[in-house]
């Protein structure tokens, strides 16, 4: 007998679509409705053959052998105690319950606790600390915004249903004409599929967003005559045309993405974007929002700020207090400088998404545990791979959408092969650490896997122009 489960939330991108309808039968997923192509794939992946059903340990010949959860938990707990500065990184793809449990483990281990925002919207955090965050919820965008700007963000690809649910097409309370009543502006160096859905496309010269924001600010503040004829590849009259649209808007909203955070300037690009919002607010209503990538990447920011006072790059190795300083305590920089001596990759894939020149310093030198439902690149070089239940498919929990609205996720099938959830796993790691400490195991930085290997390719960093 098949069962239809409604209002299921999708565990992929920060849009957190919570209107999915999933049909299941005997613990298998038959059909997924309303999800985009990526969301659908997640649910089918969960039911596919070949999933990892038990923890595995890497053997000297490179093959993997199944081990029990107790053995895997013991290995991880010992590694965390012995290491002087372990790094626990990831968390984009798990629920807040798992993130909180990991926070307790990190505190006990004196670890550096970091999440994927570190390589994603981390610089947005820096700008927000400096400048503030005049934001709103996605509901307000849907119901009020009549001018929507996607800046350095390719929603059509990274958040496929974002435009239909919130940004471009939906009919809202004050926006009952849908996309016909909205002006959509995309700013990007490439003519993306998001640009194709827009009324106006500004092809900014790559890496020159700051200049363009500056020109917008000058117009908003009345220094029109001083704007050069071309700024960042955009003619002045085009800038003035867009500024007129913004000024005439009843409610302007800016979504910004990785185009700002990953290019030269990083946090400064976001900083000036927020300042532009401030200027526009002198004229009409304007808000701004970061296009957060993973479905719960806003979660650690909320959970850890509550636990430790900081959203990411949290160094707990001092034992007495938490310390945050991106550039010093951020995962990629720690890896670049070889400053950690154990690594847990959880709910992300540093193997695929760190620059390889950073990841190889971890993968070849330090003991490594990957906690993830599937075989990812980090798992293929980890000493231990521990599979866990997929949030939103096999276990529920709270996840924060990109606008920091908590969404209740739900399970639609039981965990494959009875595997643990992230929260259960971290709680058991913590208990095992406490047991081992009473047995006299202590931090000595010694661990059989922590031998540096020869023949590393050195990182060559050229001075920045």
């Amino acid at each position: 007998m098949s069962e239809v489960i409604k209002n299921v939330a999708c565990p992929y991108c920060g849009a957190c679509c919570d209107d999915l309808v999933v049909t299941v039968e005997n613990g298998k997923i038959l059909e997924v409705q309303n999800a985009c192509v990526i969301g659908t794939e997640i649910y089918h992946h969960a039911s596919r053959e070949g999933r990892v059903g038990s923890p595995r340990m890497r053997q000297p010949d490179g093959t993997y052998k199944d081990i029990t959860y107790d053995e895997a938990i013991d290995y991880t707990a010992r590694m965390l105690i012995k290491a002087k500065k372990p790094l626990i990184y990831g968390f984009g793809s798990t629920n807040c319950e798992g993130q909180a449990a990991a926070g307790r483990v990190a505190e006990e281990a004196g670890a550096v606790l970091d999440n994927c925002a570190s390589i994603c919207h981390g610089s947005s955090f820096l700008a927000i600390f400096d400048t503030g965050y005049p934001s709103c919820t996605l509901g307000e965008v849907k119901n009020r915004a009549d001018v929507v700007i996607y800046w350095g963000s390719n929603a059509a690809h990274a958040h496929p249903r974002h435009m239909s649910r919130y940004g471009v097409f939906p009919r809202g309370f004050f926006t009952n004409k849908g996309h016909r009543g909205r002006k959509v502006i995309t700013v990007d160096p490439r003519y993306t599929d998001t640009a194709r859905c827009s009324d106006i496309f500004l092809q900014v010269k790559q890496g020159h967003d700051y200049d363009l924001f500056d020109a917008f600010r000058m117009v908003m503040r009345g220094y029109v005559d001083d704007v050069p004829e071309i700024v960042a590849g955009i003619p002045k009259e085009k800038i003035l045309e867009v500024c007129d649209i913004i000024k005439m808007g009843r409610y302007v909203h800016i979504f910004f993405g990785m185009g700002l955070c990953h290019s030269d300037g990083r946090n400064h690009n976001v900083d000036i974007a927020i300042n532009l919002v401030r200027d526009i607010n002198e004229i009409t209503k304007c808000t701004i929002m970061a296009m957060r990538g993973h479905y719960n990447i806003a979660g650690p920011g909320v959970v850890w700020s509550w636990q430790f006072g900081f959203p990411y790059c949290i160094d707990l190795s001092k034992g007495s207090h938490a310390h945050m300083n991106p550039g010093e305590t951020s995962s990629v920089d720690l890896a670049n400088r070889g400053e950690v001596d154990a690594f847990i990759n959880i709910g992300t894939d540093a193997g695929a998404h760190f620059p390889i020149r950073s990841f190889e310093k971890l993968g070849s030198r330090v003991p490594m545990v990957t906690i993830d439902p599937s075989v990812n690149m980090a798992a293929t070089v980890s000493d231990v791979h521990i599979p866990v239940a997929i949030v939103g498919v096999e276990t529920g929990g709270i996840c924060y959408r990109m606008d920091n609205v908590p969404i209740q996720y739900r399970a639609v099938v039981p965990p494959y092969n009875g595997i643990l959830t992230d929260e259960e796993l971290f709680n058991r790691i913590l208990n095992r650490m406490l047991e081992l400490k009473t047995e006299g195991i202590e931090c000595d930085g010694k661990w059989e896997y922590a031998k540096p290997l020869p023949s590393l390719i050195p990182v060559k960093i050229e001075p920045e122009a």
Binding site: V37, I38, H262, P326, N336, D349, A352, T380, V381
Partner: protein, 140 residues
């Protein structure tokens, strides 16, 4: 055949997202991510046909991929790789002290390498980490 100096951005693509969820060891992930998207005129300037194999070199590494005409148009001088194991072979790890590597806006050289082999993801990562034992344990 010529080499070109281009500005590279590496970002998400829906094809990559879908393939990633199917699995990073799958043929699908390999097929959609082992490409560099370029302007048609840039490909012409290299005097290679679209879909030819090229070598992409940056300040910190190199990778072999296929040069395709960009699905989402790139202006001349700009190229795009879908964020993936292959793109990250050439992404510079420098972070401007923010924790974020230079995923977008770094110089690369693209040159034809018609007979080169596109290396599977697992092999690339395991080799970089000194953990490659000569065979793929996860058949694609």
């Amino acid at each position: 055949m010529n080499a070109l100096h281009l500005n590279m951005v590496t970002q998400r693509a829906v094809e990559e997202g879908e393939a990633m969820e199917a699995g990073k060891t799958t043929q699908k992930y390999f097929d959609v991510c082992t490409v560099i998207e370029m302007n048609a005129d840039d490909i012409k300037a290299m005097e290679i046909p679209p879909n030819a194999i090229v070598k992409v070199t940056s300040e910190c590494g190199e990778v072999i991929v296929k040069a395709i005409i960009a699905r989402q148009t790139c202006p001349r001088g700009l190229c795009h790789m879908r964020q993936s194991v292959w793109a990250n072979q050439v992404v510079p790890p420098r972070t401007q002290s923010t924790g974020e590597p230079q995923y977008s806006g770094f110089p690369v050289t693209v040159e034809p390498a018609l007979d080169a082999r596109i290396v599977p993801a697992v092999e690339l990562v395991q080799k970089a980490c000194n953990k490659w034992n000569g065979k793929l344990l996860w058949p694609m």
